[in-house]
Structures are given as C-alpha cells and as structure tokens.
Amino acid sequence: MEWIIKNGFVYDPLNNVKGEKMDIAIKNGKIVSLSQVNEREAKVVDASGMVVMAGGVDIHSHIAGPKVNAGRIMRPEDHYKVYMRIMGNVRRSGSGRTTPSTNIIGYKYARMGWTTVIEPATPPLKTRHTHEELDDIPIIDKACFPLLDSNWFILNYLEKGEIEKCAAFIAWILKAIKGYAIKLVDPGSAEAWGWGKGVGLHCDEPIPGYNLTPLDIVKGLCKVNQILNLPHPIHVHCNRLGFPGNYTCTLETMDSVSGLAKNGLPSIHITHVQFTGYTGESWASVGSGGEEIAKYVNNNKHVTLDLGQVVFGEATTMTADAPFEFTLYHLSPGKWSNADVEVETSAGIVPYKYKRKNYVNTVQWTIGLEIALLVKDPWRVFMTTDHPNAGPFTKYPTVIGWLVSRKAREKTMETVNKRGLRKSALPTIDREYDLYEITILTRASPAKILGLEKEKGHLGVGADADVAIYNINPEKIDLSKDYKELVKAFKRAAYTFKNGELVVKDGEIVKHTYGKTYYVNCRIPSDLEKLVVDDVKAKFKEWYSVSLNNYVIGDEEIRSLKPLEVESSLK
C-alpha cells in the first residue's frame, strides 16, 4: 500500500524540518522519497492545515509485566467505569483507567499518535510474562528494560571488581530474556528488601551482605554500559525516591558518573526525576528541588532525564522500589501489594490519588514542569508521567498543554494548594515550548536516546512509516492562548500510521495490528561468554528454583522480534 500525505506542516527535528509544508510518501511500511511512489495509484491524505510528525516515542511507561498485571487484579474498581467495546471485526474490548488492559493500551496510545513505547522495568525471571503482554498490545512497537541492580550475579561481579565478566553477563542476559537496556531502581534496595530492609537506602550506604553501595552499582553498571556500547545509557530510578530532601541523592547519582561519558554521549538517564527532586526535611517542609536539578543538567552534558510529571487525579503507583511502596502504604493507607523475585528484584503496588488541594501533591506537580522549563536543551529532557505512577499516559496532551502555555499552567495553579506553589519556582517561569520543541521532547529525542534514530522519531527517507497527523494549524493557532485546541488535537489524532498502515482515522481505531519487539543482541568474545555461562550454570541451581534451560526465552516465543545488533568493546 502506498500513501502520500499531502501539504501538511511537517515537524521533523532530526532532519531539521521546522514546520515546512511538505509531502510525505509511504511505501512498504517505510518513508520513501516522493519519486518512489506511483502518484496516481497511491492513497492520499489531505493534511492541509494540519501538523505532521513521526509517531510518538515513550521511553518509560509501565505497560506490561507481572507488576502491571498485579495492579490490574488488585484494582477491579479501576475497570468498572472505563472500558472499550468490541467494534465489529475492527476493534477489541478491554477496560481500565490507570491499569488498562492490553488492547486499550495500544489503542489509546495510537489514538494520541504514539507508536513506540518502552516497558522500563521487567524482572528477568518473569520476563516471559512481560513479552506475552507486550505481544497482546496492538499497534505499537515496544521493548523492555530488565531490572539488574540487585541481581546476585551482578552484585558478586561488581563486588569483586570483575567489570568485564559483569559486562559479559549483562550481554548474555539481555539476549537470554530479550531485553533492551540496563535498568536500575533504587539500586541495591531490592536485595536489602529480601530481609525487609532498604527503606530510604542512601546512595553511599552499604547494601546488607555486600561490600557495595548503591553508587558503586551505578558506577559499575555505567562502565559496563560503555564497554558494551549499548544504544541507551543506564536508566536509573534514584535512591530515596519519595523522601523529602532526596534531590541531593539525584545530584550525587548524576555526578557519580560525570567522568564516564564517552564520545559526547550521555552516560546516565535519570528517570521520573520529579519523584527524586524534593527539598525539605519532612513532608511538612517538602519543596521543589527542580531549580537545583535543572542547574546541574544545564551545566553537565552527560545527563538526560524524563519528567514523571504529576497529573491530578487517580494513579496507581507500581515500581521495583518495593521498600518505597511499603512507605507509601503507610502514608496513604489502603491496598498494598508486593512481589519479590528471587535472586533479582522486587516490586510494590499502591493505588494513589493526586489531589489539587494537597500541599505535597502540589509541590510534586510543579517539579516536572519546572525542570522541563528550566533545562535549556530540549534534547535531554523527555516527557513522561511514569505511567501510571504520576498519572495515566492518556494525560500526555494535558502535560503538553502545560508546557506550551503559561496560561494553561496559571489556570491549574489557581486550583492548587497555594502554600505548595510557594515552594517552587514554577509560578515565576514564563517560558513556553513551541511545537518544534514539543516534537523533540515526544519523538525525536526519545528515539535518539534509545539509539533508534535511524528508523524512529523522524520522517526522513528510511524511517519506519510511523506518522501522526494532528488537526491543528500552526499558522492559525496561538499555542499560548489556545492551548485547549492543542490538547484536543493531541487527544485524538486525525490520522495515525503504523508501519505504513492506517490505524487511526479521526481519532478512532480503524485497524488492529501488531508491532515488533526490539531487543539488544550485543556481541562479545565467545571465550568470555563461555566463562560467564559456566559461572551462571554453577550457581543457577543453588540460587534459582527453575532450570537454566527453562529461564532462557526462545526467539520463537515472541510475535515479531527485532534485534538491534551491537558490537561490544570487549576483546
């Protein structure tokens, strides 16, 4: 099928296109030059007066896996009122607001014009489950990041200083469970939590049973990442998440790897930085550490971060930071779930509601926006709500509204806790993102930081034909004043293409398809691989309750697997 998207205002930062009127041609699932397409036979989309960009790329959203599913099961109330009906042979049914079922996830992302989403935290032992759920999410392309910071093999290698063996192990495990990047969550805390400890673990505090601190783990895995030449930097959820005063931990974590940047590429990605951006000594005095964090990021090019922006209303907190969830269960009594995974990691789930009039929730709300507006380089900041922790992904258009319009922010600020506002610089910030910067934040830069910029996040020749067309006219709209129109346009895309197929038209699903799953296949010297596999075989039976052969996930188990081939620097 061939398509020509005619006459739209194209925003393509990776190719320096800033709203020029251009035609985009699609053939065999890829963007091609116009000359490649038979103009008489091709189907046409008249995108006059509309904005055209690559499909959105979300680098951090909890969409699949055992803890996501545990969230669904423990929250039937989240599914009674929000649902989608089966529609003929086109659309399937589902339910859920903050813990949506798989069909809803795919459909609602596609309806907003998003086409690639990363599940950022999967426990290796249960990652077969994560892939099954990812496979049942329609339309979008996806990948998952294995949780590695409390893995016994890794902790042992790091403690002994065996960085090369650690790197070889990580190359092995990424291949074994089809993972994409190294994920750290409150590094080391999951191992402490195996004994019920680890609440509020400090960056420089030794982990029970090991001669290692969380920062040792961060530095070690950062070195491993460089050695392996992985496409994405280490993806870090800092220690002491959710504790007043924790912004210092974030700064220390970022600083710990400042000397490790290579080739001008970032060496660390701090995720949902809002949650680890608090000043103050207690909840009564908690404030925004946004300015301090933004200052550090402006002065240090080795860091990227995503926001974890709070949106008022219902949320479900779910994270591998199990000790933190135990704390939240006490702060916000209600339901609490926990699931330890032997040898590797843990997870906690606590339903939560962000309230406008709540002092702490207001402070939290200001932080993400503050950082996004104070960081000067839009290529190192990504928009997320850490779905569903700070809010559901369906609220992305609202967040975009806040970024492009000071008026939108002021409108919300009228409704929130006034004392909380005083703890943040947000009310004083005038800056407004333009559409080009929004495109960077939501497509171009996430694709780049994932190492997928060849085929994602842009509309140049050779890119996957993942295209979003929004019904807003940049020549006629004043984003600052008319942000509501922008929000409306982003809520329901006029058209969404996935791999060259039209999947959304006028904000409705018109086709049910399945995307591909990326993983990283990092090549290491075979003798080193054998050494590490022998280590794994020796300890597996003593540590794990399953056989090594059954731990490894076969290629044939995943619907459409796409490896990213990477060459390590190991000799």
């Binding site: 339910s95 077969r128 059954n550």
Partner: protein, 580 residues
C-alpha cells in the same frame, strides 16, 4: 439433626487415580469414600470399608466409609469429585465459590451400592453416554518416530508446583520412564493415553457419532453463535496461548469466560481486591524463609514435591534445610501434612477468620479476653504469634481450607492483612497453593486482556466482573446460561449437582484430550493434545513464574492442540458473524 461437619478436598490417591483414569475402578475406590474417625464409626456401628449414605440439606450419596490417621471426631472427609458434589452446599454467598467445606451432614450405614461415575448424573435432563473403553483404540499411524530420547528439564504439567526438573525417557514415541516427578506427575506422564478421545464426535439421537473435525467445529460455532449467554469455562489445564484465543472467542460470541479458580482460589482474588497481596517467588522463600505456615492445605497430598523443592525440607541459599526452619500447620484435622509440624494448630471448621483476627491482635499485643478462640487455646495463639514475630522471613502458604469455608474471600483478606501487619516486625509473605498447573496463567491472561482475572461477562461487548453474578458456578446454578464450551476442565465432576443439572439442559461443547464426566453429557466433543507432553505451551507456576512446557512426543494423528482448535473456531465464528 446433623451430627457431622463434611469437608471435601484433594488426596494423593484421588490425584493419582485421576490421571490413571476417571472411569477406572481405582478412581472410584479412592474418591467415592468418606474418611471418618474410628470412634465415630464405632458409635454408629459402621464397619471400616462398608457403605454409608451421607446426607446433607442439599442431597445424598452412597460412599464407602474408611478410617485413617488424618481424621478427627465430628468431621468427615470426602475427596473432591462427583460423589462429594452430590451433597455440597451450592450457595456461594455472592462469592462465586460454592460452600465445599464445612457442610452439616449425617451418616448412616446402607446396603445400597456406590454409583459408577456417570450414573451419578443419570437422573438429569440429558442421559450421560456410557463409554465402552474396550472399543476405543488409538488410531494406527503410518509412521512412528523410533529411537530413544532422553529429555531433561521437562516441565511437569499437573499441579501448581510446575516442577521443571523432570527427566523423561521416550522410546519409539512412548514415554518409558520418568525421573524426579512425584507420584501424581508420574501417573500423568505414564498414563495420559488412558481414556483418551481420538475422534471428534457429535451427539445425535442420544448417541455420540464420530464426525470430521470440520463438522465438529461447524457444530460448535453454531452453538456459540446462536447462544445469547454462553459460558466458556475451564482453561486451567491448557496453555496461555490457548487462553489468549479463548478470550477472543468469548468476546466474539458475547459470552462469559471463566476458569477453575472460581472453585479454587477465586476467593483469594476477592481478598486481594480488597487489600492487595504481599508475596514472593518460591526461590526467594526457599532461600530465606525460616518460618513456614501451611494453613488449610495439605501439600504432601496435593503438591507432593512442594516441601522438598520449595519449602519445609528444601535446601536454600541462606537457610540450608529443615533444621533451620520452624513449621506451623493449621488445619481442622490432623492432615497427612501435619506430621511435619513443629506446631500443629487444630482449628474448628469454619472459624479460621476468628483465629486470624486473634493472631492479628496478638501480633500487636492487644489483649485477647477469650480463653479459647476457634477451638484454639489462647496460649497456643500467643505462642504462634511469638513465633511469627521472631521469624527472620516468614511465609504463609494456604489452600482451600481458607477459600472454601465460611468467610471465603474474607478469610483471605484477613490472612493477607495478618501478613501485612507482620511486615511491621519482620519480613513476611503469603502465597496461595494453586491447584492446576496453569490456573495462575489463565488468571493472568484474562486479567491483561480484559482487566479482570476470572468470571468475566462479555455479553454487553465489554468486560464486566461481579463474582456471584458473573461466576460460571452461579450462572449454571441459576440456569442462566444457554450454551457452554468446556475446555481443559471437568465441571461435571467438580461443580455442585445443581449446576450439573442445568448443564445437562443446554448444548455443551467439550474440548479435552480425555474422556471426562462432562464429555458424557456433551453435544460436541473435540479431542486435543496434551500441553507439556505433545504440544508446547507457556504455563505459570503458583508464584507467577512463567515457564514454557515443551512437547516430547507427537500427538496422535488428527489430534491438534487447543490453540489450533480455538483458532479454527474463531475463524468459523468470525465468518458467521462478519461474512466470509
């Protein structure tokens, strides 16, 4: 005037004989029995091994009275199965779970005979087919793979333990020997061809007639498409791949999709829906737990390798073995597992909720004024509470003793809260002992595809969940379903008789490798292959760990997997609904 409390549940022999064959004498002899205390038998003049009639407010049944060391005066135990289901209480009190334990009963000697399995349901609307197994033989195949193969790390597909260390020798396409399996796993692997169905069949004029697969699929699709409120039930003994298709099929026909957890750990879901759940994988428990509670479960019979592989006796990384652990057993009778206990707590039937509440109070040093709670002396409760608080890592394993008895989901809610409370003191987790090898998987699949883990009504085009209303047990007991697809399960053997009666009034499709009691009242039978023996399939262990069970022998000619059969059904239904 009822003098006994009836409980039902698993036994090792019931499990083993189930795999050897449901229509076998061995099965009848191990399941159509009533375990009674010696003193009670003497009082009533009942000889060990003689027949008795057990009566409840809900029915009566003739079974053989036997005694054992696991009995206690006042309680009678009938293994789960169609005989027990003649007398259980069908009321689920809005939970979806009938009352399968704690039913008041009388027992009297009788000269009547024990009914054969299919005769138990012969008084209902549709006459069950009597199967002549001597007439059934496997089809001869044109080629049999020869040679001897030694399979290692085989994933066992019987119970929720999903042991993945089995070694199976296959010679000339037949399983010759099995290492590392328990008695029940072994029984399955060596007997899976017993009572097998080899050809699709349709019921015509009270007889089952062999038909082509296409004809059977067409008949099944017609039944489903023409139904207003079909139920698609079972699933727990097949793969995730099949379950994912099952949800699609249910959505297409606007039916209710439900799995066996409705009569097993459905109440555990209900408890989790109230308060969450604090748990860990089995390896974490094996490595670290120094205090293990088995509450209302009998792992030595129902999960035979559990204590050796994952819990009481297992060798862990930090905790090296039995000597470094304390075991507490809570049960209404001295179950076979209770002999491994350091502390055995005998609780009065139906009073577990009070005992758990008392423990929660004791943990927090609240004063318990009663000298005895739920039949347990206060001192013992305080002793147990101290053991729980002093543990370094405690785990509460529980089973039907909590889910099936008075309180149902509320019992589990309270047990989870006890564990949540204990986390103030020390590390503690809770884990349900899941029955079927993939009930956890089918719950997970239903949850990610619909938002709910079982009892999902799709009749309005979107998922709705309200156990008690949308649970297949209650739907059948009320007589609201007008068709049923039964797959990888045998509800005729395990649902209360009131549900079976209504099942015989509606068209029934059965998809199963073997003959079951449900097959005898089916209108369409489609035989399929065994997951983990003949076809691959992903299954989830009781702790959610996902494993891929692999095929080690080929299925008989013409026998497809559940996956393939469901795909054909879906295609047929789509054609009928949306046109070719």
């Amino acid at each position: 005037m009822f003098t006994f409390t009836l409980i039902t549940g698993r036994t090792l022999e019931q499990g083993r004989n189930l795999e050897i064959g449901k229509f076998s004498k061995g099965y009848l002899n191990s399941v159509a029995v009533c375990e009674m205390a010696k003193e009670d038998m003497e009082k009533l003049g009942i000889k060990d091994g003689s027949n008795v009639k057990v009566k409840t407010a809900y029915g009566e049944v003739v079974v053989k009275a036997v005694t054992s060391a696991s009995t206690t005066p006042g309680i009678i135990f009938i293994p789960m199965g169609a005989w027990a289901n003649m007398v259980v209480n069908p009321n689920s009190q809005g939970s979806g779970m009938p009352t399968l334990k704690g039913i008041p009963a009388t027992v009297e000697p009788t000269s009547e005979q024990v009914s054969a399995l299919e005769d138990l349901i012969s008084m209902f609307h549709k006459k069950p087919i009597k199967i002549d197994f001597s007439q059934i033989s496997p089809p001869s195949s044109t080629s049999t793979a020869s040679g001897e193969y030694n399979f290692k790390d085989v994933v066992c597909c019987f119970c929720g333990c999903v042991c993945d260390d089995l070694e199976v020798v296959v010679k000339d396409s037949t399983i010759k020997s099995v290492k590392n399996a328990c008695a029940i796993g072994m029984a399955k692997l060596l007997n899976y061809n017993n009572e097998r169905v080899y050809k699709p069949m349709i019921r015509k004029n009270g007889k089952l007639v062999e038909v082509s697969l296409e004809e059977a699929i067409e008949a099944a699709a017609n039944i489903l498409v023409n139904a207003k409120y079909p139920i698609l039930y079972g699933w727990s003994s097949t793969s995730n791949e099949a379950m994912r298709l099952g949800v699609r099929l249910a959505e297409l026909v606007g039916g209710v999709v439900d799995n066996t957890s409705v009569i097993c750990h459905g109440p555990t879901v209900l408890g989790t829906q109230q308060v969450g759940v604090v748990t860990a994988t089995l390896g974490q428990i094996r490595n670290r737990a120094d205090l293990i509670i088995f509450w209302g479960c009998n792992p030595l019979h129902a999960h035979p390798r559990h204590t050796v592989r994952y819990s009481a006796m297992a060798k862990g990384w930090f905790i090296k073995g039995r000597k470094e652990r304390k075991i507490i057993i809570v049960d209404v009778r001295p179950s076979p597992t209770s002999r491994i206990a350091d502390l055995f707590i005998q609780v009065k039937p139906g009073r577990d909720y009070e005992l758990i509440t008392a423990l929660r109070m004791a943990i927090k040093d609240h004063t318990i004024e009663a000298e005895e709670v739920a039949g347990v002396p206060r001192d013992k409760i305080l002793q147990m509470a101290d053991m729980l608080r002093s543990a370094k890592f405690g785990v509460l394993f529980f089973g039907m003793g909590l889910t099936m008895t008075t309180g149902k989901g509320r019992n589990i809610e309270e047990a989870i809260k006890l564990v949540q409370d204990l986390n103030e003191w020390t590390k503690f987790v809770i884990l349900p002992m899941r029955g079927h090898f993939n009930v956890a998987g089918t719950n997970a699949v239903m949850a990610w595809l619909t938002g709910f883990p079982y009892a999902i009504d799709l009749s309005l085009g979107y998922p709705r969940h309200n156990p008690g209303l949308t649970s297949s047990t209650d739907i059948l007991i009320r007589g609201d379903a007008d068709a049923a697809l039964i797959i990888a399960s045998d509800p005729a053997s395990h649902f209360p008789q009131q549900a079976i009666e209504n099942l015989t009034r509606i068209p029934v499709i059965v998809i199963d490798p073997r003959w079951s009691l449900t097959s005898t009242i089916a209108d369409v039978i489609i035989p399929t292959a065994f997951v983990g023996i003949e076809v691959d399939g992903v299954v989830y262990r009781m702790d959610g760990v996902p494993l891929k069970a692999k095929s080690i022998v080929k299925p008989p000619p013409g026998i497809l997997s559940d996956e393939e059969v469901l795909k054909m059904n879906i295609k047929k239904v789509e054609e009928k609904k949306f046109g070719g």
